[in-house]
């Protein structure tokens, strides 16, 4: 479903290349995978995740999402890809503070033009799977960290994207919430068939995934 070919990414200081962040990265993610990018801090996990998620540009190589090369698209095209094909879960939850839980979960579906009844039904379905169905009218600021992260997962899952990219989703959660979140995401992966790619070095994540792609110094060392 996703194929990365000879991907290179540099960080620049002015016009000078300061860091070779991704070095000839090659790997594939199949449909329905539940995989992890792991490696020490600064090895390039988040950079790779951002590149796959069309959040960041690349210097060379190719990123194929099904039959479309997305590595060379302009910002507007990348925005459309993010909206229609991807789901994101960030370390810092990143909910929209002025919208309640229901509106946050349905936000991407709304942007994609789903009908209100359809959104309502799907929001309730996903919220029930993530056990936040009784918090639908709460504002994000009134929720615990674990609940906020479940809302973020629900928002990513609701429009049924091709893949969810989750960057350190458990980093701000305690062990109980981390385990609960991973169990729920695993269940979503199995029930919904959505591919999920994590970037993390959390033991709960490592223990939950079916595949681990190891990175070091910007390169894949084991996939």
């Amino acid at each position: 479903m996703i194929e990365i070919k000879n991907l290179n990414k540099y960080f620049y200081k002015g016009e000078e290349r300061e860091l070779h962040a991704l070095r000839d990265v090659n790997f594939e993610i199949e449909k329905g995978e539940f995989a992890l990018l792991s490696g020490p801090s600064g090895c390039g996990k988040t950079t790779l995740l951002n590149a796959i998620g069309a959040l960041d540009s690349i210097d060379s190589g190719e990123i194929w999402l099904e039959k479309r090369e997305i590595g060379t698209l302009d910002e507007d095209e990348r925005t459309k890809i993010r909206l229609n094909e991807m789901g994101f879960v960030f370390q810092a939850y990143n909910l929209i503070p002025v919208l309640n839980v229901e509106e946050n979960i349905g936000f991407i579906m709304k942007l994609r033009g789903f009908k209100d009844e359809e959104i309502k039904k799907r929001v309730l379905e996903v919220a029930t799977l993530l056990e936040i169905q009784n918090k639908l009218h709460a504002m994000p600021a009134t929720l615990s960290g674990g609940e906020q992260q479940r809302v973020a997962v629900a928002r990513a899952v609701a429009p049924k994207p091709k893949i969810i990219l989750a960057d350190e989703p458990t980093a701000n959660l305690d062990s109980k919430n981390s385990k609960a979140l991973m169990d729920m995401m695993k269940s979503l992966n199995e029930k919904e068939g959505i591919s999920i790619l994590f970037a993390s070095h959390d033991e709960y994540v490592m223990a939950s995934v079916r595949r681990t792609i190891k990175m070091n110094d910007g390169a894949i060392v084991e996939s």
Binding site: L55, F88, I96, V98
Partner: protein, 404 residues
């Protein structure tokens, strides 16, 4: 979709309530003051125009072709009464007066001044321009055989009070110097500078007899009318007469109107700059506060154009709310100033010497509100261009990284 954008904009516009309220109040107060000033400026000019028309020119005046240059009694309209009757039969004419004027010298025992004696009929002047409203307190509106009503500035020059005697001398129709002794019955203040400084109003019949001319003779026929084509029609009908519009007789009034438009424009510009800077400040700070939120929106696929619409709407909410409050305050202020006026009696001497009343009444025009609305909408939209640049240039990855 747009319901969501409106909800986002509305909620965000009021997320920092005290800051938003402060900007709304700032817009409302500055806008209401601007509207009040516009009303007062226009009121001042309209009052001058109105008083000048009522006391002298009407909308259109007729003269002998030579009179306005020669000012000679011989250059008169000989069949004035007949013309007046013809004019009064027209549907588009509201009122007509005929006046007889002669320049001469007014004198008391100690003072003298160049002045103009004007023969009028009080009843027709009342219908023409509410002449009695020009009478200052203490006097009476009565023109008997020796009665005279004096312009207020002329009375000051001659140091004359009600009941004082004044001698007016001039050349009569035969060319002889003649004089008439008159008793002051009242003081007239029209705020028409030239009239107040030189006019002696006497009964038209008394003046005609004194000057030795027929009662059918006039030096001016003034007309009140709402017809915009009257001047053209009268020019064609009376080719032997000099037909002048109000603005031709008082070009200064046109200049004053234009000056007031400039004053209003400057005030308008200053207030709109205040609105612009106010909204821009609040929007800029608000966007910096929420830059991560916009980063999230961009990263999950919200297009820049939707974010731009949201920001425009936020600015519009603040601007339009300020406008609505400002419109209510401004209307209240205008209502008060229109009915009770702004009393500047302390500066009466200065104002009256320029032809202004000491109590200034405002006027209310719909255009004050409509043009302000458009300007506030424009200022609101322009004020977010800089904050929007910030969003356009933000690094989505960097701004979403911020720790919780």
């Amino acid at each position: 979709m747009y319901k969501l954008i409106i909800k986002l904009a509305f909620n965000n516009a009021f997320i920092r309530l005290s800051r938003t309220i402060l900007v709304v109040i700032m817009i409302a107060v500055s806008m209401s003051m601007m509207i009040s000033l516009q009303g007062l400026y226009d009121g001042m000019v309209l009052s001058m125009v109105d008083k000048t028309k009522r006391s002298d020119s009407g909308e259109v005046s007729l003269y002998n072709k030579e009179y306005r240059v020669s000012k000679a009694l011989s250059d008169n309209i000989t069949n004035a009464t007949q013309i007046k009757e013809e004019l009064l039969k027209r549907q588009d004419v509201n009122a007509v007066v005929q006046r007889l004027e002669a320049d001469g010298l007014s004198a008391t025992a100690k003072k003298s001044a160049f002045s103009t004696i004007i023969g009028i009929d009080l009843n027709t002047e009342e219908k023409f321009g509410g002449f009695s409203e020009f009478l200052k307190p203490q006097g009476e509106l009565r023109l008997d055989k020796r009665g005279v009503l004096l312009g207020s500035e002329l009375a000051k020059t001659l140091k004359i009070r009600i009941g004082s005697k004044v001698i007016f001398s001039t050349q009569d129709a035969t060319g002889e110097i003649n004089a008439i002794a008159l008793r002051v019955r009242g003081i007239i203040q029209t705020n028409n500078i030239s009239l107040d400084a030189s006019a002696l109003y006497v009964d038209a019949k008394v003046l005609a007899k004194f000057l030795g001319v027929s009662q059918n003779v006039a030096t001016q026929i003034a007309i009140r009318s709402d017809s915009p084509t009257l001047k053209t029609e009268l020019t064609q009908k009376y080719p032997d007469l000099d037909v002048k519009s109000f603005l031709e007789l008082y070009p200064m009034m046109k200049q004053m109107q234009e000056i007031m438009v400039i004053f209003n424009s400057i005030t308008f510009f200053i207030v709109m700059m205040v609105v612009f800077i106010g909204i821009m400040g609040v929007m800029y700070v608000s966007i910096l506060d929420r830059i991560r939120e916009f980063g999230i929106m961009r990263s999950i696929g919200m297009s820049y154009s939707l974010i731009r619409s949201q920001i425009f709407l936020e600015a519009l909410f603040v601007g339009v709310l300020g406008y609505l409050l400002g419109a209510v305050l401004g209307y209240g202020a205008l209502y008060y100033l229109e009915n009770y006026g702004l009393d500047l009696s302390e500066f009466a001497d200065g104002l009256e010497s320029f032809g202004y009343s000491s109590i200034i009444y405002a006027t209310t025009k719909v255009s004050y509100f409509s043009s302000t609305f458009l300007a506030i909408v424009g200022a609101s939209l322009l004020s977010v261009l800089l904050p929007l640049r910030k969003i356009k240039k933000m690094n989505t990855i960097e701004v979403t990284k911020v720790d919780i």
